[in-house]
Assembly symmetry: C2
Homo-oligomer: 205 residues x 2
DNA sequence: CATGTTGGTACAGTGAGTGCAGTTAATACC
DNA sequence: GGTATTAACTGCACTCACTGTACCAACATG
């Protein structure tokens, strides 16, 4: 009966093995980064800890730093899905804000401890900023979809996307360092930044 | 009579030579990046073009990408100076905005063409984001100086700094790509983002 | 069972970046 | 003016992130 399934979502043994290798690499990478520092950890070590060859590491992650964010791809996809579905809304910016704040619920557990490491290692902050570009593109695309694609609207969409991600990065890093309620601060700042003013007619400079 | 000068600002021959080497390295780096691409250019080539050894390149720039922003250090210092001096102001955020907009005057000439290259080369975008952290620190320090250093104010200052730089980066890159008036768009967006609301009492979430 | 595909391996190579031990020439000091 | 210092630069050897290529063995699929 299983053979009648037509879903491509049924992972077979090969895919399972691949997933497991990737998971193991990510886990050992993070553990080693934490215990001996990012620079002091070589890719060779990570691969050895996961029981695979060095070359295999690079079949799973493009850079050493990327191994610290193994679920990045899925998260971006999930975020895009949350942005495009959901209740109908009048104002794209307030919808954006709601979706981002809702995302904080899934942020709490091990995510914050990752940011604790991240705030101390410049290379990982760089990697974080780099991966944030994917979110920026999603947000910019979402805004352009609502605002139209005239050059000025595109610039505006990218600027907002950058600003929003900047706020998120700064808040999460700071929150991980100290005992701040990241969600509350983000909520307030985004509320002010993205409040109604941006939905007035655009050409006002 | 020259011997009676006490200014440390009078550069001697050694310092002049160093400056000249650095300038030449930066110039050839940019030229080669443009003509053959960033990845296709090796540090060895850049150094050879400037007539120095490869080792010397790294005495001037910490990374290959840094050579595309040879005046970064001076610019940050100048920006901090502009932020801390100037006319007295009531609202730190509007002062920040004025200073940033004033900076656009010195941005026009070759700076924009640099962003044209930058918008096409991911490595240089990364480097740009990295160097932007120095500006972020300057802005955050400026805001903390006015808002106090309680944890929440610090988080807020960092968030704003990140957001402002995000807007600037996105706008400049987009402006370089298309024929947009970066200053006008930045002026409007920052105006809305940094408008008066932020100076109300802070604890309102 | 035959055949193509896929996750992983072995190996050799490139190039960025660093540590260290010089060399040369400008400068400071007496 | 002669000597000691120091600052810019060099040469060399090294590490390590990352890539291209050829290969193998397990698995999937008809």
């Amino acid at each position: 009966m299983a053979s009648t399934m037509m879903e491509p979502s049924q992972p077979n043994n090969r895919q399972l093995r691949r997933l497991e290798t990737r998971r193991s690499l990510g886990e050992h990478a993070l553990r080693l980064f934490r215990s001996q520092g990012f620079e002091q950890t070589t890719v060779e070590e990570i691969a050895a800890a996961a029981g695979v060859s060095t070359r295999t590491f690079f079949l799973h992650f493009p850079t050493k730093a990327a191994a610290a964010f193994p679920d990045h791809g899925e998260r971006v996809i999930a975020f895009r899905a949350r942005l495009s579905t959901g209740a109908p809304f009048a104002n794209p910016l307030s919808h954006l804000r709601s979706v981002i704040l809702a995302g904080f619920d899934s942020t709490s557990p091990s995510r914050l401890s990752r940011y604790t490491l991240l705030s101390k290692v410049p290379e990982l902050r760089d990697e974080d900023a780099r991966t944030d570009r994917d979110y920026e593109e999603v947000i910019a695309a979402f805004l352009v979809q609502h605002w139209g694609d005239e050059p000025e609207a595109v610039v505006r969409a990218n600027a907002i996307a950058n600003a929003v991600l900047g706020v998120l990065r700064a808040t999460l890093v700071a929150a991980a360092g100290q005992g701040i309620d990241a969600r509350a601060v983000t909520s307030e700042i985004l509320g002010r930044m993205l409040g109604m003013p941006f939905d007035e007619p655009l050409h006002s400079m």
